[in-house]
Symmetry: D3
């Protein structure tokens, strides 16, 4: 599947925190740089996410805020 979301970054699953409805997934996309995702619990199960597994973070450009110091 090819997707319109402009941001698709490869990473490794570092941590998974299942909740009642949602699950927090932390991926390392480069050494010491992590991205946190909140996805539904059943999606995390469907994708069989596990620590050490390769996965992508996909982010729509309109969901990205820019900031400066």
């Amino acid at each position: 599947m090819d997707i319109s979301a402009r941001n698709c970054l490869k990473g490794i699953v570092k941590n998974i925190l299942p909740g009642s409805v949602n699950t927090e997934v932390i991926l390392e996309i480069m050494p010491d740089v992590e991205v946190t995702a909140i996805i539904t619990k059943s999606s995390a199960q469907k994708l069989q996410l596990a620590i050490g597994k390769e996965a992508y973070v996909v982010i729509k450009a309109s969901d990205v805020i820019v900031a400066i110091d």
Copy 2:
């Protein structure tokens, strides 16, 4: 300002495409890895974004999708 959004990645502005209402901003967060943001035109001007300038991409964890091959 300290912010609840879990993802705050440092980058360099690589490209700016102003539109009528929105502006597309591309930042390089690591060699050959870019993140694209769509922000309002006036925000891009307010932040005085320019190619080569250091900036952060800020992304709420609930806006991050996870995918696998």
Copy 3:
């Protein structure tokens, strides 16, 4: 690619309205039921979207609001 977004609905592209930075895409997901997407102009070009083409709308569950009459 398998994706955590829970909503992936098949449709046919009915209309494409390119803007300066974004493009509006209307897809028919069932007779007389349309879904409108705003994606970046370059994504619409990259996916080579055209009227009559089959495509999917992908929506994260946390972006769905529920309403009642």
Copy 4:
């Protein structure tokens, strides 16, 4: 109330999974086609959502991703 969100699809509540803060709601918008929403628990209670009840899924166009095979 008339709303700017471009996507408002009628459906029937098929499943409700209450969590600690959020609730997952699954609606059938056409035979065998479901849409999943994550809303706050108190919103699900306020709307008195129940299986079999008619409801709408409301989605902002800028939250819709387009994908192709």
Copy 5:
């Protein structure tokens, strides 16, 4: 229509900036406090938004970031 989005704030339209696909709408929700929305151009036309008109800003709780100084 009763809606699950938790935030619905009444305001007055202060400014409208139409773009090619999107339109920026600024509403004053209390003296000197404005909220900016980006909606599609056709939604702004459908709602017949005009300066001085009463309108609501509707925001899903999961789209709200919290920050501290």
Copy 6:
């Protein structure tokens, strides 16, 4: 940090409802006008949010829907 999100409203924390993964935070931005945010549990802890504490709600303009009666 200066941020591209157009909406940054000052308020006082009125209520905090921690969940398993997410936490619901209610802030009063003006007398009798509240904004509800859903942020991750660990963000709420990191920001040391507490009832009575001053905080801001930050909302991207593209996440704001407009509605009329």
